[in-house]
Amino acid sequence: MLFNSFEFLIFLPIVFLLYWFVFDYAIRKCKKQLLWQNLFVVVASYIFYGWWDWRFLILIAITTILSFLSGIGIEKAHTQRGKKTVMIANIVVNLGILGVYKYYDFFAEQFAQLFGIESDFLLLHLILPVGISFYTFQALSYSIDVYRKQIQPTHDIVAFTAFLSFFPQLVAGPIERATNLLPQFQRKRHFDYTQAVDGMRQILWGLFKKIVVADNCAAYVDTVFADISTQSGSTLLLAAVLFTFQIYGDFSGYSDIAIGTAKLFGINLMRNFNVPYFSRDIAEFWRRWHISLTTWFRDYVYIPLGGSRPVVPERLKAKGERRAARYIKWIAVRNTFVIFLLSGFWHGANWTFVLWGAYHALLFVPLLVMNKNRRFMDDERQWTDIPRMLLTFVLVVIGWIFFRASDMASCWDYFSGIWQLSLFTLPVVENSLLLWATIAAIIVMLIIEWTKQLPNRWWLYYGLLVAIWWFAGQDVDFIYFQF
């Protein structure tokens, strides 16, 4: 069920009230109170997930059991090699499941096209389970962290299942680390008024970003992208900018709802977005966008590959410092490309996502080579940073065109469509009132995110509620559900 659906509006209060009144207050003196509360979280999460398709539950159950057993297997293995084998086996099986469901048909089609054969008999037509990319990565992080001894393996299958299937973050993240989330299911939670109120405010803000900003941008963007060849350059440009806000409103809105919902249950999830469109360069953008995924790739791919400080082979060290320094730079560049391409491919089985990843890698690498990728580590933006922010924003908008286009040909059509004389005409707008309302909502969103907090004013909360209610009639999916 979607967060902005009627079913969730009924589901959440029931689960919230049962969670605190039955599985906390009512059985507080019971020795197994925590077990029962976690079990309730599992049941509620499986109901939430199974609402899409009950068959999806089989896969997440398999991933849960395999990852749980891998943690115990790593603990019980006597040798380091044995531990590594168990970890690798878990990674291979889980990535294998993900690979089959997400990428098999894509590669089968590419193979068929390459050899000019009929692809129908090769395809499996598997339905992509919602959230599989997210919970698979979450499960992998557990077994890797156990292997690295960053966390003790749990013997509590209920707590582990609750960690992996916790419904607020199950289908579109944040991709939680076991070191953060699992311990929260292993200790008692107590209702915290401030945390709960904060959670409600975050849910409200997330719904505003999704329903008022993202869904209204989608109304314009979808029409333009459905028929690129007939659009003027200015229309294409406007749609690209609106998509930039659509994907941010959609994804960060979802994350806010997820984090806010988790707070209602006394659980703290990691921050997933940190006002990325105010970034001063691409490196900062990638520290602020989809933080849970980028840090996942950093910790489990980039650093194991050597990161930006690989071990220099002795034979190169012998050839001098400059040679060694060049080697380090080359490895850092290679690793950067690897994680950006993987990140692109993670988003979906389409070359446009890989192209998007490669584009960002090409933007990032010069900063890395010039040692300027850590220039803007602070959060203190000045008005003088605005030109840099605008340039970064433009570069990001260009990247989103690759991301949104349905295929490479559409990508090319889109860019060539922008660069024509009609770029200097007014964009075609069917519903100008709606467009201006959307722009106003985007401005409100940017102002509040620049100030980093939602002012505690009842009139603002009512205003957001009415705006959400006004636009709630649209049926638009979350973009990241397709990943």
Binding site: F6, E7, F191, T223, D227, W470, A472, G473, D475
Partner: protein, 300 residues
């Protein structure tokens, strides 16, 4: 916890009360659905020709011209809606001889949006209102609610159809075709790709059920490919056009009571108010032709 729940109620209660009040107001505003339901409840037993389907039929078929006909079509009415309407009224339609169901290039991919499904639930009672769902009330869409209330207060005609169910309004008047709008229509109606496949399968199933209902009652079901302008047809993907034609032809082959008639190339620019919908004059001409073709050519 008590403080938290009180705070939530403080914010939610005014919204909730406002929603109830608006819902009560808007459910008392007459509309085409309430009119058509009242007509069917009263005169269903005297109808010989029933027109179902979406806006192409709502605009394009003048029931005054067909014998003892009524236009039960409505905007974005999908095959499931048509089926459920027929299930509800067929038992009392003793005089029914023919059902006219228009089809277009996007019919197979069409499903009800939530606010339209709510109209069929609340006003036509063809979907269950309980247990409660997002289709049970109109109040989930504040924008539409407010617009309806404002129009009603400004004495706008809310029913917007004539006595036999055909749409009335400024859109039906003759006017030059807006070619930019045609491009928008094409963009909106293109459904090529995997995402539409589940709806196609479902809609074919609903068509079969409609045909079986008609077969059991010895009623003819005419699947009518409605007229559209050549520019619109040429902008649609060929596979989508062929899919519609293939499905309709196979329906006619599989069911004795089903006939497929193709009027896609009928008419000229003066007959349309947009690329896919006939205007008042065009609807009259088309209905006269339909009368001749369906009533003279069919065998009862």
């Amino acid at each position: 916890m008590r403080r938290f729940l009180c705070k939530i109620l403080l914010y939610v209660l005014p919204i909730f009360l406002g929603a109830i009040i608006l819902e009560l107001i808007v459910e008392h505003i007459p509309n085409s659905y309430t009119y058509k339901r009242a007509y069917m409840d009263r005169y269903a037993d005297s109808i010989c020709t029933l027109v179902l389907g979406h806006s192409c039929a709502y605009d394009g078929i003048d029931a005054e011209i067909l014998p003892s006909a009524f236009n039960l079509a409505n905007s974005s009415q999908c095959f499931e809606d048509d089926y459920r309407l027929l299930v509800k009224y067929l038992p009392v339609m003793d005089s029914l001889k023919m059902v006219v169901l228009p089809v277009s290039y996007s019919s197979l991919q069409m499903v009800s949006s939530s606010n339209r499904r709510a109209y069929y639930t609340i006003y036509m009672d063809i979907y269950p209102r309980w247990p409660i769902s997002k289709y049970s009330f109109e109040c989930f869409n504040l924008e539409l609610l407010v617009k309806k209330c404002v129009k009603y207060l400004l004495n706008t005609d809310m029913v917007q159809c004539d006595s036999l169910g055909q749409r009335l309004g400024h859109t039906m008047l003759n006017r030059p075709i807006d070619w930019k709008e045609t491009q928008s229509l094409i963009a909106n109606d293109r459904f090529v790709g995997k995402s539409s496949i589940p709806y196609v399968t479902e809609n074919i199933e609903w068509l079969h059920r409609l045909a079986e209902l008609c077969e059991n009652r010895d009623v003819l079901l005419y699947l009518v490919a409605m007229p559209m302008l050549p520019d619109y047809r040429s902008g649609m993907p060929m596979e989508q056009i062929l899919l519609m034609e293939q499905v309709m032809r196979s329906m006619a082959q599989e069911h004795n009571c089903v006939r497929f008639v193709d009027y896609q190339e009928w008419g000229n620019e003066d007959d349309f108010w947009n690329a896919t919908h006939l205007n008042t004059d065009g609807a009259k001409r088309f209905s006269i032709m339909l009368l001749h073709d369906l009533y003279n050519k069919k065998s009862l």
